[in-house]
Homo-oligomer: 92 residues x 4
Amino acid sequence: MKATAEIQVIPLGVGVSVREYVKKAHEILKTSGLQVQLHAFGTNVEGELDDILAAVKRVHETLHAEGVTRISSAVKIGTRTDKEPTLAGKLF
Amino acid sequence: MKATAEIQVIPLGVGVSVREYVKKAHEILKTSGLQVQLHAFGTNVEGELDDILAAVKRVHETLHAEGVTRISSAVKIGTRTDKEPTLAGKLF
Amino acid sequence: MKATAEIQVIPLGVGVSVREYVKKAHEILKTSGLQVQLHAFGTNVEGELDDILAAVKRVHETLHAEGVTRISSAVKIGTRTDKEPTLAGKLF
Amino acid sequence: MKATAEIQVIPLGVGVSVREYVKKAHEILKTSGLQVQLHAFGTNVEGELDDILAAVKRVHETLHAEGVTRISSAVKIGTRTDKEPTLAGKLF
């Protein structure tokens, strides 16, 4: 099933600046075979829902492995059966 | 990896009242081996992140199979390495 | 205009444990004339939209005044014209 | 207090296609004196928190006035005291 999603990652316990880890999360999404669009509140992605969910898991795993103690992520997912969901189709 | 999560499902194209489908989504989560807590803006769950993500996918699949054309879901995920994340531990 | 809302507050730069500040945020909402329901991923509230938005602002202001350098909040708002929106009406 | 925010609006009861109303919401934000950036999952804004919250209210009011029976919005707000929060500062 194809889906679009927005993935926002908030690392806790690494101080006020979280850029290093947010950037790492974005890089993981970019190398996950998904189409990605970075914006100020997350990364929008397009692809198979399975791949999106696996990428979300990989982000949590990788950031923990790199020393982040606590992670709060927010994921919005859009699916539809009348036409293929795309990021481009949500713009105007 | 253990996680806590909040899952909110918004079915589109089924009219103003979405209760029937939100209830169905909650039932799917309840039968997914996760601990669940219903509240007014979603269902909070606790369990293995793999099981949580699989349940999110099942919700989208099942609701589409039952005739919902478009679904927007919002998932918040919390993981931490210093102690086991639990729903109870987030209350005070 | 009456509304229901969910307010989640994530303080950044105060370490891994954010309980003290999340509790403070909940107390601010409780004393804002809104009906409140605490859960593991935020506080659900019911009341006038103006009061809800003012309370969200007060949470940011108060936590900053108490020393939190950075705050990320997530607010879901529900309004409807066919009947009065209530938290109780969203449960089943 | 300056803030950055993401505002996503989901109209319910208007059918599967919600583009007309999402576009209207974006136009309201654009004419609210805020800096705005449209993306596939919402509009990112930058400005005074008061203006942002007033704009969120205006979106709900205007869409209801144009016939939308039910609205679910999701607003993420970022504030910080160590430097001025900007949308540009959140990109890399």
